[in-house]
Symmetry: C2
């Protein structure tokens, strides 16, 4: 299944970096821990980092029900961008310096999620994205906690995926000239060893859903 | 020197996470490799990941002079957000799950940089931010390359910094109840071993400005 292009989800710059397979959109969204979410407030854009989750073709966002940006986003056009930085590209010329990355950009109107079952489902999706296993392990939200939480849904209907991989693309004369190093410095990320809460009982053991998440940089 | 708060750069949600020292703004901006930059296009926001650089209280962005978003941004209100993700916070309740992070948000009108000396200076600042040492090592831009590049400047006048650190903040009854693990899984990032361009001569040595950038995850 492919991404359905619209004017704003069709890459005009460097179209060879565009990916049109929906599976690639899912892969980028599912690997990232956070997204950057933008809304227009008083005519100016505002970008915030936030957690999110995906269920099939719906992306869920949440936050405090008192947050200005979430209130403004309800029913309004928003943009959600997810970026995975894979490397710094050193070229022979300053001009061809670049980055290797995978990014997804989603456009649409944010739908406030108000029905209780969908709200709970959305929160589960968001928590399981950030901390897989936590929905089973941790205490579920109370009515009061639910009331304090705003949930938004965004259809993954209008989206683009952009990917750059590989070595620098230098001009031929610069390659021939030699004398300048070129290549890629990969960017790696991963998890360090878990740090237990100081208020935990001293005999508390690290559960598998946290321990198994991987302690090394990948 | 402190950040000068305006209505939109004053944190209303969780104000205890706000930092008001300008040095903290610089620290967040200087550590991040990319920013997320937003502009309003046809009434809807658009967020893009991009490289950037900082010189004192000016943030520089650049891109292709043909890029729609950069053209739209010239003279228009933009927002630039930089986020460093430090950890996943596992709480005893789903509600108190969180992330440790440092983020900076800058608001303002983007000023197109047109004067040749400032354009060159801005490009040097951006390249040295992404790849320190490359401005000296790599070939400088030609007139044609400069003409193909748009440069924007954003004053760091209206900015906010938000930081979350430390363990989860669970409710006392959940702490007392015990039985559920809580703590932080730190997120680490760093550079992997450099990958030389396949077109390099086989006797090319890795220069110190790349080799010395650190190969291990931090």
């Amino acid at each position: 299944m492919t991404l359905s292009p619209t004017a704003r989800s069709t890459l005009r710059r460097l179209p060879d970096r565009a990916r049109t397979d929906r599976a690639e959109l899912y892969a980028v969204l599912d690997e990232a821990l956070i997204c950057h979410f933008a809304v227009v407030l008083d005519g100016a854009p505002r970008v915030m980092p936030t957690g999110f989750g995906r269920d099939r073709d719906t992306l869920y966002l949440h936050g405090s029900s008192g947050a200005t940006s979430l209130r403004a986003a309800a029913g309004a056009p928003i943009c959600v961008t997810v970026t995975l930085l894979d490397g710094v590209v050193y070229a022979r010329s300053v001009f061809h310096h670049s980055m290797n990355y995978r990014s997804a950009m989603v456009h649409g109107r944010a739908r406030p999620v108000v029905e209780e079952q969908e709200r709970l489902h959305a929160l589960r999706v968001i928590v399981e994205h950030l901390a897989p296993g936590s929905w089973t392990h941790a205490r579920h939200p109370t009515r009061k906690e639910l009331a304090a939480t705003a949930v938004l849904a965004l259809d993954l209907a209008e989206a683009s995926v952009k990917v750059r991989t590989g070595p620098p693309k230098d001009d031929e004369p610069d390659v021939q000239a030699g004398g300048r190093w070129a290549g890629v410095l990969p960017v790696r990320s991963g998890f360090g060893p878990a740090v237990p809460c100081p208020l935990l009982r001293s005999d508390a053991t690290l559960p598998e859903h946290v321990a198994g998440r991987g302690a090394a940089c990948t």
